[in-house]
């Protein structure tokens, strides 16, 4: 009896400290990326606007989003390395890979749940639910990194790919995020928080009861002592010697790639400020550009004299205005010519340029009234 109680209280090792640390990184980045990302997908909604404002505005959350994305990418590089180490150096089984067995397990689990079959499937170290989640994280992260790169570096992307991939990446990024968040909220929450609060990701251990239900096949192997023997130390040593140069080179390449990702172009973060078009009253040509002698010539060649008189002394004809020694501003002068006040014919910039008007104005100002 006592032995049974002891047996029931027995805890089985499940996750190493580094694995648990990776999981914490994943929690922080996933939650942070969702909180800063989804409101951008739904920016037109009021709840999204409220969230964005609470977090300090859209530019702030974009910076936070990029920092978290960078951490997640770095973690992905680390994870790739550690997986390679476990598989290649330590010779562990790739227990996360799905197989026919998982399909059988799902079917048996469903039929058991529905009462059609008598026994719960005996599940391996990583059961079908966990494999689905892990592979979803891998798939999701890859999609997010690729589509994130496209949005982060749209100019670089469109030098190689058609421009249309950028809005497509935006659609994929947002939808993939929605898929990930919904999956976590439904599948992950139910399996490790609602159905049973599974603390193994934080304590590293799992109770016997949980092991029976979720990893019966693994428990049997452990209890029968049938765990595959570890690699002989000399093999591990030999493989380590091969692994490290490879790992260092890959790390350099991947971290270099990551830095390139972050820095290849600035446009997404600091687009050059928009040049304002010329606004306000001033003409591009100023009165100071005018030369009186050129103005005198233009007065003749442009036939101003015909109506305004040889010396702009006002005409005896229709233009009863003394232009000689005019006191109006250059702007008003140009405006008058362009408008054509009273009986005067208006002249566009194609007919008399602003420069020519500056010359004419300069000449008129030299005349005695």
């Amino acid at each position: 009896m006592e032995e049974q109680t002891l047996q029931a209280q027995k805890q089985y090792p499940r996750f190493t400290p580094t694995e648990r640390f990776e999981h914490i990184l994943l929690i922080v980045t996933f939650v942070g990326l969702s909180l800063t990302g989804l409101p951008q997908k739904y920016a037109a909604e009021d709840w999204a606007k409220t969230m964005i404002n609470l977090m300090g505005g859209v530019e702030s959350i974009r910076i936070v989003h990029r920092i978290l994305a960078t951490i997640l990418m770095a973690e992905s590089i680390y994870h790739g390395g550690i997986i390679t180490y476990k598989l290649y150096v330590l010779g562990r089984r790739a227990s996360m890979l799905p197989g026919i067995r998982d399909l059988r397990d799902v079917i048996q689990w469903i039929t058991f749940n529905l009462g059609w079959s008598r026994s719960h499937p005996h599940l391996p170290r990583y059961n079908f639910g966990e494999k689905a989640e892990y592979l979803a994280v891998v798939w999701g992260t890859v999609v997010m990194i690729i589509t994130g790169f496209m949005m982060w570096n749209p100019i670089t992307t469109s030098t190689v790919l058609p421009g249309e991939v950028i809005p497509a990446a935006r659609v994929a990024h947002g939808n993939e995020a929605l898929l990930a968040v919904l999956s976590i909220l439904i599948w992950h929450m139910y399996n490790v928080h609602v159905r049973r609060f599974n603390r193994s990701m934080f304590t590293g251990k799992l109770s016997r009861e949980a092991m029976i239900e979720e990893h019966a096949a693994e428990l049997e192997t452990i209890e029968k002592g049938e765990l595959p023997p570890g690699r002989p130390p000399q093999v591990i040593e030999r493989r380590k010697r091969r692994f490290w140069p490879y790992a260092i080179i890959m790390t350099i390449i991947l971290v270099g790639g990551l830095i390139r990702f972050l820095t290849v172009e600035q446009t997404a973060i600091t687009t050059i400020p928009r040049q304002l078009s010329v606004v306000g009253g001033p003409l591009l040509v100023s009165a100071d550009n005018g030369q009186a002698d050129q103005g005198a010539t233009l007065w003749q060649t442009l036939e101003c004299k015909t109506c305004h008189g040889e010396n702009a002394e006002s005409g005896d004809m229709t233009m009863n205005v003394i232009l000689a020694g005019t006191k109006i501003s250059f702007e008003a002068f140009v405006g008058a010519v362009r408008r054509g006040p009273a009986d005067m014919h208006p002249f566009s910039a194609d007919q008399i340029t602003d420069e020519q008007l500056a010359h004419l104005y300069a000449w008129l100002r030299t005349l005695e009234r």
């Binding site: 951008q40 920016a43 037109a44 606007k49 964005i52 404002n53 505005g57 859209v58 799902v106 469903i110 058991f112 749940n113 529905l114 749209p154 100019i155 469109s158 790919l161 058609p162 421009g163 249309e164 991939v165 950028i166 809005p167 497509a168 935006r170 659609v171 994929a172 939808n175 993939e176 929605l178 898929l179 919904l182 999956s183 439904i186 599948w187 139910y190 159905r195 172009e265 446009t267 600091t270 687009t271 050059i272 928009r274 040049q275 304002l276 078009s277 010329v278 606004v279 306000g280 009253g281 001033p282 591009l284 006191k327 702007e331 008003a332 140009v334 405006g335 362009r338 408008r339 910039a349």
Partner: protein
């Protein structure tokens, strides 16, 4: 008549007119009449009783070609044509009676004792500020903190004051034609006007279309704000949307009203809208309508010269994205909803997720449901047993 006699006559004439005008004013303000005559936008908030009679002043000032050369060399023209005033809004058509010289210029018996102004312009600016406000408080209060008012306050005498736009003795009703409005602004804002008159809006305006925006539709009338601020820029898409999202108005031109909505779903529009929502005074470098379409020189979008047709779009993008390649402009989906033909990749990706998300999420929900089902059954079974 001695000079004293003349003064007494004048006194009685003015007094009589005051009484007459007072009666007219009281009549005018009776509620029945007020209902019958809808208030025009620029009506004066009357507290001046017009004197109307200008004969005293016109003895001298009706003489043509009387000018003084002032200290700064400017010509101070003191001649006035009585017909000009009579045919202005302040003339015979004025509801509360024709204004007289002294209503604006004050009592000023000859010989005039006050010194000549320093410059003609200084006199205009000073008089505008003092005189027009007497009757037009609403309009002058709108001017407070406007660009022109601020420039005048900062000592820039070239900035527009009342009479520069409305005229002095020849003031005409301000709502005559939109063309007049544009031309009036163009008197000073020459370069802007030159851009505008050849724009899609300007050309339509001068073809007689009164629906198109002129200067005041975007910039306002008296309370014109600085259009170079972040605030103006962040809000500018809404300004364009005022007309371009108006289904009835756009139907006349066969222009899609989807432009604003599609802009808001795009990355640029989404960001600008968020900025506008959070703090409209924070500058954003994301494109607004005018960055691609132009400001005063907005052109038709179907002309070869348009900066937004595909052939010219790269150059437009490069204004903000200098390194953009020829593929880059295709990342802008456009103002029309994307279709399978126009954007196959976008369509496929959207379709993919429209299937993947419900299938995956639905699958998870079903799986969870079977587990919940078993647990409930087990619990009930245990109770039964």
């Amino acid at each position: 008549m001695t000079r004293n006699d003349r003064l007494i006559c004048l006194f009685f004439a003015i007094g009589g007119l005051f009484i007459l005008a007072g009666v007219a004013l009281a009549f005018n303000m009776s509620p029945v009449l007020a209902q019958d005559s809808p208030t025009p936008t620029a009506v004066a908030q009357n507290n001046v009783t017009p004197t109307g009679d200008d004969s005293y002043c016109l003895v001298c000032h009706a003489q043509p070609s009387q000018t003084y050369t002032l200290a700064d060399g400017s010509i101070f023209d003191i001649a006035v044509n009585p017909d000009t005033i009579a045919s202005s809004v302040h003339g015979t058509q004025n509801e509360s009676g024709k204004l007289g010289c002294t209503d604006c210029h004050g009592e000023n018996i000859f010989p005039h004792t006050q010194p000549l102004p320093i410059s003609s312009r200084a006199y205009t600016v000073q008089q505008s500020a003092l005189v027009c406000v007497d009757c037009h408080q609403d309009q002058t209060s709108e001017l407070v903190d406007s660009v022109h008012d601020n420039a005048l306050a900062a000592g820039n005498l070239s900035a527009a004051t009342c009479v520069d736009c409305h005229g002095a003795h020849d003031v005409q009703p301000p709502d005559v034609s939109h063309q007049t409005t544009a031309l009036t602004c163009g008197n000073c804002h020459v370069s802007v006007f030159q851009e505008y008159e050849h724009s899609v809006h300007g050309e339509a305006l001068f073809d007689g279309d009164e629906n198109v925006p002129t200067c005041v539709d975007c910039h306002g009338v008296h309370g014109i704000q600085n259009p170079t601020t972040a605030l103006f820029r962040n809000r500018s898409p809404e300004l364009c949307a005022d007309c371009h999202a108006d289904v009835e108005l756009m139907a006349q031109y066969d222009i899609t009203t989807n432009v604003f909505e599609s802009y808001l779903t795009d990355f640029h529009g989404q960001t600008v809208a968020l900025f506008e929502q959070q703090d409209p005074n924070v500058p954003t470098n994301k494109a607004v309508c005018i960055d691609c379409h132009g400001v005063h020189d907005i052109g038709r979008t179907d002309e070869n010269t348009s900066r937004v047709v595909r052939e010219n779009l790269l150059e437009t993008c490069q204004q903000c994205h200098p390194g953009a390649s020829s593929n880059f402009p295709d990342s802008w989906v456009g103002h029309f909803p994307p279709t399978a033909e126009s954007h196959p990749l976008l369509f496929i990706v959207t379709l993919f997720y429209n299937i993947l998300i419900p299938v995956t999420v639905g699958g998870f929900i079903l799986l969870v449901a079977t587990d919940v089902f078993r647990r409930i059954r087990e619990r009930l079974g245990r109770k039964d047993a």
